[in-house]
Symmetry: C2
């Protein structure tokens, strides 16, 4: 896997896990998301939430450093891989960028076409990209 392939794989995944830093320690939630080549975007939607779930927003305001991981598990461990993106997140509530985020998400998830997320959105500027694959690189 090279960087281009790593980014292609993360873009194709339907779910990833978002880690933020909270005052109590690391915080982790699964997210649906889209990747446009430079930014990973996700949004708070209408899936039922526990209050504490919005901890991710509070954490980003206090510390914008986030990490996002997509991985493939298989009981055949020669098929395992993961891709991780570290970046800087910000909260977007309105405006042109919010509309852009909704369009990216609706393009990927049909659920969002009939019921767009009310937000806020989280926009992550991708910094370091790391990846790993159990498969030996193709020659």
């Amino acid at each position: 896997m090279d960087r281009a392939e790593a980014l292609r794989r993360i873009g194709d995944e339907r779910v990833a896990r978002l880690a933020t830093i909270g005052s109590d320690g690391p915080h982790l939630v699964p997210v649906v998301f889209a990747f446009d080549g430079g930014r990973v975007v996700t949004a708070v939607d209408q899936k039922p939430k526990r209050t504490r779930d919005l901890q991710r927003l509070k954490n980003i305001v206090a510390d914008p450093r986030v990490s996002l991981l997509a991985d493939r598990y298989d009981d055949d461990w020669s098929r395992l891989w993961w891709v991780r993106v570290d970046g800087t997140a910000r909260i977007v509530r309105t405006g042109a960028e919010f509309v852009e985020v909704l369009a990216l998400l609706a393009d990927k998830y049909q659920q969002y076409r009939s019921d767009p997320p009310r937000g806020p959105a989280i926009v992550i500027e991708v910094g370091r990209v790391a990846w790993w694959s159990a498969e030996p690189p193709r020659v």
Copy 2:
């Protein structure tokens, strides 16, 4: 889902994601793991590693607060769920507890029976358990 069901589900999962806090921000890796009712255990094994992958050990030494997430994705969003365990981690390299960890892991993953992880092991004392399910609770 109640706490018992949440713990049952996380115990049954084949993979989870482990978040630690590093000096550069949150760190995230997928892990195979076992849960014995009180502790989540995982170990550094012989899967090929990038050097930086052992960042998780360095991070735990500096800050033992970790978060572990298992989740189920489905394009039918009424089937989504996740379970998260926050806890305190420590590194175990030798001794009776290390042997116990290997036994727990070998019991769950046949791969570890022929090729036990050399370690070190990470032992997480489970603190807070959080969960979410899109399914309405059964009455």
